[in-house]
Subunit: 433 residues, 2 copies
């Protein structure tokens, strides 16, 4: 018999092929002159160089502490960091740990909040299980769900975030289809959603817990609250988390990161969940890496302990507020002349969601994207990536995906780059109006 050199990968490997993020990054590499309003990087100039240096030096001034940072840590993360994270959380929520029902045992430190999202998916979702998401939502998480073979079902949103009546009727429909037992979670980016920039209203934050519990008929339906952007608030009220309304702490799983508010290069995020969920995540994480980088955790702990962190976040807010205003001003300057082009004014986060007239498609293969990248040298994230494709139903039954949006970010470019990028983008759009 002839030998075979063919590799037979696992079934789930086939579910994580051709992720849009890879295509986007590839475009960036292949087109070096392109100005990116797409890349999810953070502002380069405001990265906390001297704070990190101080925190490191303070850590390494004590060789015992330095050795601890260089040794293995524990799977759940450094206990001293988790204590500080608990305080951090109570500061943000303006509630005591007792009121929140959180102890260090409910906290797990991960490699960015991305790892927390992925681990949670691994322990909760079997192929075919259902996660409900907003339309639009964070497209990288859609990739995670797809990679697990999960069904992703979109719920309508308006200017106050995911609509609770739509959520309720979607769950009712799933029950009537005999699919309620497959529904495992509801994913929500409650503050300054990526990509829309919108926040879930306080009223809905309270309601959604009731909806999740109402439909927890066969088993618990969790709410996964992704608060990656909560500290990047520029104006308007700062809202309490969904988690803060969950009295038992059993329905809501909350995750946050220091990638946006401090430094993504440290890759420190964390999540808060019930002990049963923590045990599952910890077991999986034990197999995957038995603990995220200990050194990063110790550096961050020093920055938090010495309050270097909070001053930095204040500073970052002023940096990003200016950049957001620049993007909105540039939108006004370059896009207000076009009919049927509008955009959302976000109160925080890193994104401006722009909508063109319905006839103008923005996807990778669209004339607009191709012209933008090759001729005008500017890149955005096509809005259609942020809408879920439900693998559980036929193409003909899919909800209509809007193809005329663009996610623009003011995160990575400086003021000049934002202005120039918006000008280039308006040049690209102009020819299709």
């Amino acid at each position: 018999m002839a030998l075979s050199n063919e590799i037979r990968f696992s079934k789930k490997r086939t579910w994580s092929h051709d992720l849009p993020i890879s295509y986007l990054m590839q475009q960036g590499v292949e087109n070096p002159g392109v100005l990116s309003l797409a890349a999810g990087l953070v502002d380069q100039n405001s990265l906390p160089v001297s704070i990190t240096k101080n925190a490191f030096e303070s850590l390494f001034s004590d060789s015992g502490a330095a050795r601890e940072a260089l040794q293995y840590g524990t799977t759940a993360g450094s206990l001293s960091l988790r204590k500080l994270l608990l305080t951090h959380l109570t500061n943000l929520e303006q509630k005591s740990a007792e009121e929140l029902g959180v102890t260090v045992d409910n906290l797990i430190v991960t490699t960015g909040s991305q790892q927390y999202l992925s681990l949670l998916g691994e322990v909760l979702l079997d192929p075919g299980d259902i996660c409900l998401v907003a339309a639009p939502t964070y497209f990288v998480f859609l990739g995670v769900l797809q990679g697990l073979g999960a069904r992703i079902i979109s719920v309508d949103t308006d200017e106050s975030g995911m609509r609770m009546d739509s959520l309720d009727s979607t769950l009712e429909m799933l029950e009537s289809q005999g699919q309620l037992d497959r529904v495992k979670m509801i994913y929500l980016v409650s503050d300054y959603e990526n990509p829309s920039g919108l926040s879930l209203s306080v009223e809905r934050r309270k309601q959604v817990i009731g909806v999740a519990q109402k439909w927890s008929k066969q088993h618990r339906i969790h709410i996964l609250e992704d608060l990656a952007y909560r500290e990047l608030c520029y104006d308007g009220p700062v809202l309490p988390s969904i988690r803060s309304f969950d009295k038992t702490g059993e329905t809501v799983i909350l995750t946050q990161t220091f990638s946006k508010s401090f430094a993504p290069g440290l890759r420190v995020g964390f999540g808060v969940a019930s002990k049963q969920v923590c045990a599952a995540i910890s077991d999986k994480k034990g197999n995957d890496d038995f603990g995220s980088t200990n050194m990063s955790q110790h550096i961050l702990a020093n920055a938090l302990r010495e309050n270097l962190y909070y001053d930095h976040v204040d500073y970052l807010r002023s940096v990003y507020r200016e950049k957001r205003d620049c993007m909105l001003d540039s939108a006004e300057t370059y896009f207000s002349k076009f009919r049927n082009v509008h955009w959302i004014h976000p109160r925080g986060g890193l994104y401006v969601w722009m909508t063109l007239s319905e006839s103008i498609e923005t996807g990778f293969q669209s004339p607009l994207f191709q012209k933008a990248i090759h001729q005008d040298k500017v890149m955005y994230v096509p809005g259609e990536l942020c809408y879920a494709f439900d693998q559980g139903i036929d193409s003909s039954e899919q909800p209509v995906i809007q193809k005329n949006h663009m996610r623009l970010t003011f995160g990575v470019q400086n003021i000049e780059g934002i202005r120039e990028g918006m000008k280039r983008l308006s040049d690209a759009v102009k020819s299709f109006i």
Copy 2:
């Protein structure tokens, strides 16, 4: 209908329950006076405090470089680090990158080599797929395989590592059972295996590639070569890797870590594989964390670039050589008086594998383990954890698992601790002779 608060976890969550590593760590926490010859930590005093400080300061003396370390990296890892890793690999193999058929595109940086092992399992193994392992082998990897629902089948070993005749006949048997199409990989810790301390002979390193290829009838059977301990060599010849005999680089996937030879707190490991396998790993890692801690990678790159790393490894070898000798001396002092107790003299790595007479069991529930931990205040890893349980066959058909071994490590304790630990352990064993 009453609401249900029951959590329905994914099927794979049920496969990673009750991992022995968690039990071991719990025992350590609950019995604080216990001297651990079990913990897989590295030597605390020789951790590279000043080298890391120098590497960090050198990195942060250039604010541009510092900002790069604080920004997001790429999923595959820092390109400058990967270039240095390529050089590192060619140094270790004493072969050029061309001869090895490796470029930076074959290299992926992970959170310790543990993450590489786990990612590879994720992309190659479906539940019920088969991985062949040595008996005994690295028990944490057995947990990874179990967590993926894989079948783990043991192959006999002798003092030269896994027996190639047994490997061949096991594959023949699997073919006769119609199971060859489920065999995906052969896992080998070729240098100073954890737990046995034995290395695979050069002859077998060459042979195993032929065996894997011979049985690649339906698809490619990969060899996963775990070289976590390769740099911790104390005496005797340093052997070329299995990978170095794989001309096309398609059969062998190699992984290494800086956790043992430098600092586990940085959590930097890497793997080398064909581009097709790299693409699969990269896609999964993109979903899991889109890149390990960038900061650690930049610190390590500086240590490698300025050759601080190699001096440290030389120093580490002398530290661990002394500790190994101390453990072997103590074994001689305290155990040679017992009949039917023997142990292996490892030429590298961190472990001494000790065998008691067949009637003395060493498992968690055994009188010996309980006496050791509660009365004599010493802990070891029961050898039976290092033998695979094949979930694909009935209990009655399982190969006989030897229950009279102990894995002892000289990694974490200092000289006094090693001596005292061995004395306590001999006290525990004495009462069962």
